[in-house]
């Protein structure tokens, strides 16, 4: 029986969240949480592995107490257990402290895992770093942006599309994959599954239970700091070209040759000079 760990994250449900212009922080309290879409694919991939070769699936997340919801959802969808890493000291983590905390929790609480599945990226952070960093922390092979996976013995054959090539790779287990995937369509929560999920216990660990020093987790341990978050301003202006057709075309190219060149894939400036 394989032991699979699926890392999931609760993200804000709306794409355009109001943010505080003074601090540059998102006003997360105004949003409802949901399971990060790519994590749904990771979970569904785990289910497909379980259907083929049998597996126990643990869903793990680091987050505030409200993140319990995505673990319940994971159980409702079919995960066997949910683990919540929750501590005020873990708040404000960057991708490094997130992956090192996850690594520590997996090492100490699920040491005999075979495969870790993560979503390829999250819809809020979009860094796509946590999965690969987690593989690094645990010193196991990791492949990102995986579309499909097949497990035979202690080897996993993974497939991904990269730069329009189809890559097939083999890796030894235990390993980690981040799932990109449209190969498995995520299922919906069934009503019986939902009821069962709320009858289950969620295991919660704080920093002390994981033996983590407050210096090394959350915002305190994070080597990166967010200096500023802002929406880029797009200034638009209307330009009306007048004159004869020839003159209009001439001024069109002199005003926009960079952009037109970009679209048709030609360096118009150099061409002009060459002539």
């Amino acid at each position: 029986m394989l032991r699979l760990v699926v890392c999931i994250k609760q993200v804000p449900q709306v794409s355009e969240l109001p943010w505080d212009p003074d601090t540059g922080r998102l006003q997360r309290e105004l949003a409802e949480g949901m399971m990060n879409p790519a994590c749904r694919f990771a979970l569904e991939t785990a289910f497909s592995i379980r259907e083929k070769v049998g597996a126990k699936i643990a869903a793990i997340t680091m987050g505030p107490p409200s993140a319990e919801e995505v673990l319940r959802e994971a159980i409702a969808l079919g995960a066997d257990k949910g683990i919540l890493l929750c501590d005020e000291k873990m708040a404000g983590a960057d991708t490094y402290t997130t992956s090192s905390t996850l690594a520590k929790a997996i090492q100490s609480k699920i040491p005999r895992f075979d495969l870790i599945l993560c979503g390829s990226s999250t819809s809020d952070g979009e860094t796509a770093q946590v999965g690969p960093q987690l593989a690094e922390e645990l010193d196991i092979p990791g492949v990102a942006y995986v579309d499909d996976i097949e497990i035979t013995g202690n080897k996993a054959r993974v497939r991904r599309v990269a730069d329009q090539f189809l890559e097939t790779m083999e890796m030894e287990l235990p390993g980690l994959v981040t799932i990109n995937a449209r190969s498995y369509i995520p299922r919906y929560v069934s009503m019986t599954g939902f009821q069962a999920a709320f009858a289950e216990d969620i295991t919660t660990y704080d920093a002390a239970a994981l033996g983590l020093s407050p210096e090394w987790i959350g915002s305190k341990g994070a080597p990166t700091k967010v200096l500023r978050v802002y929406s880029p301003r797009m200034d638009k202006k209307n330009i009306v070209l007048t004159g004869t057709t020839k003159k209009i075309i001439g001024s069109l190219f002199s005003l926009f040759d960079d952009r037109i060149g970009g679209i048709i894939g030609k360096d118009l400036k150099t061409d002009k000079k060459a002539k």
Binding site: M34, E69, R72, E73, Y188, V189, M191, F194, Q195
Partner: protein, 382 residues
């Protein structure tokens, strides 16, 4: 008293909404326009246990409490009231009475298929001359060795065309129909159980509401729920619980109409300003939001009363009365806010308007709800 929805309630709403918006949303408009029952989606709903919402786990159900049940019906109805109606009639008026009043043998025989949705349920009460005066039932149940022979016509039967198991209300006694009232479980393939044409109704058009003819339909005695004479009491008790589903359905329609109005009021510009900047429209939206909240609170109170085992008939009737009238008010305002577009079949608010009206009529008209409420009120000490 906690007015904040629990994590469980919030999650359930999200989970059902995700399914409803993704799977029913894209077809909700078309199935109403074309008056078709969306089997493709219903098949998915079956596998997600929407047909066994409150049935016990032993029968494969989700064993939900009434509050959860109301949330599910609300969310499905918010997207398609016709499908919400299919679910509430199946779960509340067909599965529930068998579960609550049926024998163990009947439960084992009928519930597994119904809970799986393999057999969609319905309750046949209304007749051409018998509406609110249910006890005046004219469908006759004649006795014959070990069986009853049903003859009569049932109209406006929700899920009629697609039902697999129907509860049929009849009487053994023409002279005193109340005294001889009986309730049977009848399988669709029983000879003499004839499903007629789909009714051409104003709203709820995607629900295959139909007439059902009973022509010398032989039903074994063991299919009777309760005893001869119990029929009317069992039907009325079933209706008491069914009102929660109906109130939830109405609330779902109202919610959809309100959200459409909110979106439209923010988008639509007249006199160079969005509609939402005009005080009249602001007042409409404020009234709508208040009205929906009031209805929802009445509904959830009725759910709580039912789940805690207290008398709930008055509360459920209040919720049904209020929520159905509220849905009508909200849909009316929604059409008004949308103006000419609201009156157009191209927009969904006109569907909400037609669907909302049904909730004031079916499963006990608003007039009947007032009788039920007045009984509860008058039983109090003055």
């Amino acid at each position: 008293m906690d007015y904040n929805p629990s994590l469980k309630s919030k999650s359930l709403r999200k989970a059902v909404r995700m399914f409803a918006e993704a799977e029913i949303g894209p077809i909700a408009h078309d199935i109403d326009r074309d008056a078709v029952f969306p089997w493709d989606v219903v098949v998915k709903m079956k596998s997600l246990n929407f047909f066994g919402l409150q049935a016990p786990k032993t029968f494969g159900g989700a064993e939900m409490d009434s509050l959860s049940y109301a949330i599910v019906i609300e969310e499905i109805s918010r997207v398609s009231a016709a499908l919400g109606l299919c679910l509430t009639v199946h779960n509340s008026l067909a599965v529930y009475p068998i579960l609550r009043y049926g024998t163990d043998e009947q439960k084992k025989r009928f519930l597994p298929d119904m809970v799986k949705g393999e057999k969609i349920g319905t309750l046949c009460m209304t007749e051409t001359s018998v509406g609110s005066d249910a006890a005046g039932v004219e469908t006759h149940a004649g006795q014959e060795a070990g069986a009853y022979v049903l003859n009569g016509t049932k109209i406006f039967i929700t899920n009629g065309l697609v039902c697999g198991t129907a509860l049929v209300f009849a009487t053994t006694d023409y002279q005193n129909p109340r005294k001889g009232s009986v309730l049977f479980i009848v399988e669709r393939d029983t000879p003499g159980f004839i499903v007629g044409e789909k009714e051409d109704l104003c709203g709820m058009r995607a629900n295959p509401i139909a007439t059902i003819f009973l022509e010398n339909c032989h039903v074994p005695e063991k299919n009777m729920i309760g005893h001869p004479g119990d029929g009317i009491r069992l039907c009325l008790k079933t209706m008491d619980a069914g009102r929660i589903g109906l109130a939830a359905l109405a609330t779902g329609i109202a919610q959809a109409a309100f959200e459409a109005s909110l979106r439209y009021a923010k988008d639509r510009k007249q006199f160079q300003k969005p509609l939402s900047s005009f005080q009249t429209i602001q007042n409409y939206l404020a009234d709508m939001a208040t009205d929906i909240d009031a209805g929802r609170l009445l509904l959830y109170r009725a759910c709580e009363a039912l789940d805690s085992g207290r008398p709930f008939a008055g509360e459920a009737a209040m919720a049904k009365l209020y929520c159905s009238a509220m849905a009508m008010r909200i849909a009316d305002k929604a059409v008004q806010i949308h103006g000419g577009y609201g009156y157009s079949k191209e927009y969904d608010v006109e569907r909400y308007f037609r669907d909302a009206k049904a909730t004031e009529i079916l499963e006990g008209t608003s007039e009947i709800q007032r009788i039920v409420i007045s009984r509860a009120v008058l039983s109090q000490r003055a």
